[in-house]
Symmetry: C2
Subunit: 216 residues, 2 copies
DNA sequence: GCGTAACCTTACGTGCGAGTAGGTATGCTG
DNA sequence: CAGCATACCTACTCGCACGTAAGGTTACGC
């Protein structure tokens, strides 16, 4: 009814690119603290300091918005990891740097990580997106293990490698989750612990040592 | 308007205890394939071959229903694991039996596992429930490691143990997830693979071998 | 200085699904 | 066979939050 007495515009007009980033920032914050379902577009708009129709105009529906968040965060993360692990280093060095980058990223973007890891798993539409990223990670790790194996003249079935890689990635994700919930924990230390478990375990495997189930 | 010509009752009347189980079965199925949000009470009722008000009468609101599913499935799982690992066996035997029981459970209740692991993580109300179960598991594993350590006269800070245990549990959960998505995979084999990574890694750690980050 | 395009708003339509009111049938107990 | 408790149903209300229509305002090009 009353069309706001245009006293002071209160908020500045900004170019689209900027606003989009602000919206994504807000979306990640809200999604991470409410979960996908409980997060309302109104709250996201509010948190971004903008009104709802703008969000729809720029980023589309709620699902599309969430996917956009997913894309940005996964891209950032993969970039961080890829940038850290030079491909011509020895395997343990590569693994270490990858882990350090990963936990560093999670530590610095705890909200983003919560969105990625916790929300996206359940609902069908997003699971695929996330699974794709995990598949890339698993592929990288498996490739690393394979490389190290061949260097020692050994060879292992592909499935075997993949499952081991999957376990390592899973353990890292899980510790990442732990890290996201413990604001005081140090990413570097967490990475070291993970490296201990991963490398000593994998190292043994690479060395040809295996554990066999007992008869019983 | 038309109050169903009572030709044949079509479906039998059953005592409450039975119906409750049927409803929980249906709920687990539907939650696992749709996710918590997308699952509708109508569909659950339908799947259970009963009408919606019965679900409300017996199990309460949607959230309460989900929590009931969580309770039942976690109880079953903990029971399966606890029943397998006799406390007086050597550490590797206990770990092996625990893992085998765990993957056996997941293989036999893939739907239940999906509900537990995927859906409950995100939304606030349920996360606590799930976290409690994981905490128990982590506690058990950490205790096992600690026991094995003391037997060898060594000792490690509690946090350290807990984080290692957390990583192992996380890796197992992750492989469990992988198993739930691969109907043809054998639980036993998956357990063996997990055991390889876990025990060789943990074994090294127990033996006093550790990996240290390089200077750089 | 004026048009036009992009930015931004308030205020609403709408559908879906959680939860309920009120009534009917059926078996068990005496 | 009365009576009562319990199993069970159809058919509704209603609120919430997604998504949008229609219009106001600022900046920038010419």
């Amino acid at each position: 009814m009353l069309t706001r007495v245009s006293s002071t515009p209160t908020f500045k007009r900004l170019p689209r690119a900027i606003r989009e980033q602000q919206m994504l920032d807000a979306a990640v914050r809200v999604f991470s603290r409410r979960g996908f379902h409980a997060a309302s577009m109104d709250e996201i708009a509010d948190d971004a300091g903008i009104s709802k129709p703008m969000v729809y105009a720029y980023l589309g529906t709620k699902e599309e918005l969430f996917v956009a968040c997913l894309h940005r965060e996964t891209a950032r993360m993969m970039e961080a990891i890829a940038g850290a692990a030079a491909p011509d280093l020895p395997a343990d060095q590569r693994l270490w740097r990858g882990l350090r980058a990963f936990f560093g990223f999670v530590g610095a973007h705890r909200d983003g990580w919560k969105v990625l890891y916790r929300q996206a798993r359940g609902s069908q539409p997003f699971a695929a997106e996330l699974a794709a990223m995990r598949a890339r990670l698993v592929g990288v790790v498996a490739g690393m293990l394979d490389h190290a194996l061949r260097a020692e003249g050994r060879e292992v079935a592909e499935t075997e490698l993949e499952v081991v890689a999957y376990a390592l990635v899973g353990a890292s994700e899980s510790l990442g989750d732990w890290l996201a919930d413990h604001p005081d924990a140090e990413p570097e230390k967490t990475a070291t612990r993970m490296m201990n478990v991963a490398w000593l375990g994998a190292g043994q495997l690479l060395g040809g040592v295996t554990w066999r189930p007992p008869a019983n």
